[in-house]
Symmetry: C2
Subunit: 271 residues, 2 copies
């Protein structure tokens, strides 16, 4: 792990990342020190930093640090955290001050192939996402809703759960973006009020665009999902999981999900 | 600063407090090592820990650490942070694992007496609070809304700002609870959907209860405030600030606010 470029496993206890969740992060996979879809991940990190008024580190610096930590590992998962750094007292963002940059590497988790191939069982979480348009889409460090939701899923023995907002709109998974297939077209939830706009969501939308497949960003409720031909979830660590079942829904064939999963996996070696 | 009881100024970079804001905190004043309103602060910390599924440290342990750090200081402000500790990967709460406890002391900030006596100028912040009943009232570490709001105020030269939810209900200040006086009665916003239920709010409600003064927990909009006889804001560091003006509102006399401020200040030496 590197903290501001130096080997360290700690940050200052008065860091605003701890005090207020005042920062952003990325989780991404690496192959022999090379991050997969680096250009998309860096673009997203830059976007999120800009949205939060944070200075994004240079891509070359981050790439150098990722390689330094993982060059000898055939496969790894990296986490990059950028916080507003140590605080003056009080909530207001300091006018100056050095940000904190954490780059950490962990071994790649093992997922059984069955989740990708046979699909997963899921359910709608009890906790509902609040609306905050000023922060929607951003992968910031205020993630208690995801913590509560993911704990619900784990306790229920589910690999992933679905999150609704307070108005009954499905927004995504606890750590993934959601797509629905119907009549050959793709649909994905609007993230204007809550949720995280992840890199794999962008890749699926790019896949659709390249093939003239319509992909609508829209409001989806559970009844819409129950009527879907296919549903799948994507994130940068597990890739693509089709949904096999949730209450009121059972599918065993995932033809478009599988094509898109193959695309995401084949395209992985491109940065 | 003490981290898990040991002198230290750093926490592990994989602490869930940093990763997800998975923890709670308290800010309180001390006189010669003795926290003011300790029983209320500890009760609130215990309540928030319970609500988040965290084990609250023993009161005696926290008191010992507070005294250790501040016994020689005539006046200080303490911050106590309890996080879920170092993480396994992923959002779900670990089933076990040691929490992280940070106890830090800073000098007491100087507030000019004019804010308490002459009242402050305020305004409604542009950012609106999202609704999250699962977390409402708790002083947890997901405070980006407060960060954005407080930065707005600072940039506007205001000592404090008012926060509305998305439905136009005023919830409180960026770091304080709000009360309105009308026809001799007190009114304070309902915090069932957002906001923090602070210790000084509880003290004002106790003051009202002891004196047979009606205090209603209700929905308040800006128009309600504009029609108020008095408005005041409370928190554990600055105490009580009457509101002198905000757009559509100007008052120069604060009789009940002053009585309550005197009560809060006189009662300070009791723990």
């Amino acid at each position: 792990m590197l903290v501001n470029g130096l080997p360290s496993d700690c940050i200052s206890a008065d860091d605003r990342g701890l005090s207020y969740g005042d920062g952003v992060f990325r989780t991404l996979r690496l192959r022999k020190g090379q991050p997969l879809q680096w250009s998309l991940h860096f673009a997203k990190l830059s976007h999120d930093c800009l949205a939060m008024g944070l200075d994004c580190p240079a891509a070359e610096l981050l790439l150098h640090e990722l390689r330094q930590l993982s060059a000898t590992l055939p496969a790894a998962v990296a986490k990059i955290i950028i916080t507003r750094g140590r605080g003056e007292r009080g909530y207001a963002m300091p006018k100056s001050g050095r940000h904190t940059r954490v780059v950490a590497i962990q071994p790649e988790p093992e997922f059984t192939a069955s989740k990708s191939q046979d699909g997963i069982q899921t359910a709608v979480c009890r906790i509902k996402l609040g609306h905050q348009p000023a922060l929607a889409g951003i992968k910031h460090l205020n993630r208690l809703e995801n913590v509560i939701a993911a704990s619900e899923c784990r306790d229920a023995g589910l690999a992933e759960g679905l999150l609704e907002d307070g108005q009954g709109r499905v927004i995504g998974g606890t750590r993934s973006n959601l797509f629905m297939v119907q009549n050959g077209g793709l649909f994905t939830p609007d993230l204007a009020y809550c949720g995280v706009d992840g890199v794999q969501r962008q890749r699926v939308m790019a896949y659709a665009g390249e093939r003239g497949l319509k992909c609508s960003v829209t409001n989806l409720c559970v009844a819409d999902l129950q009527a879907a031909d296919e549903i799948f979830l994507v994130n940068s660590v597990f890739g693509l999981w089709p949904v096999r079942e949730f209450p009121g829904y059972l599918r065993t064939e995932f033809p478009l999900s599988n094509r898109i999963r193959n695309y995401l996996e084949e395209d992985e070696t491109r940065s």
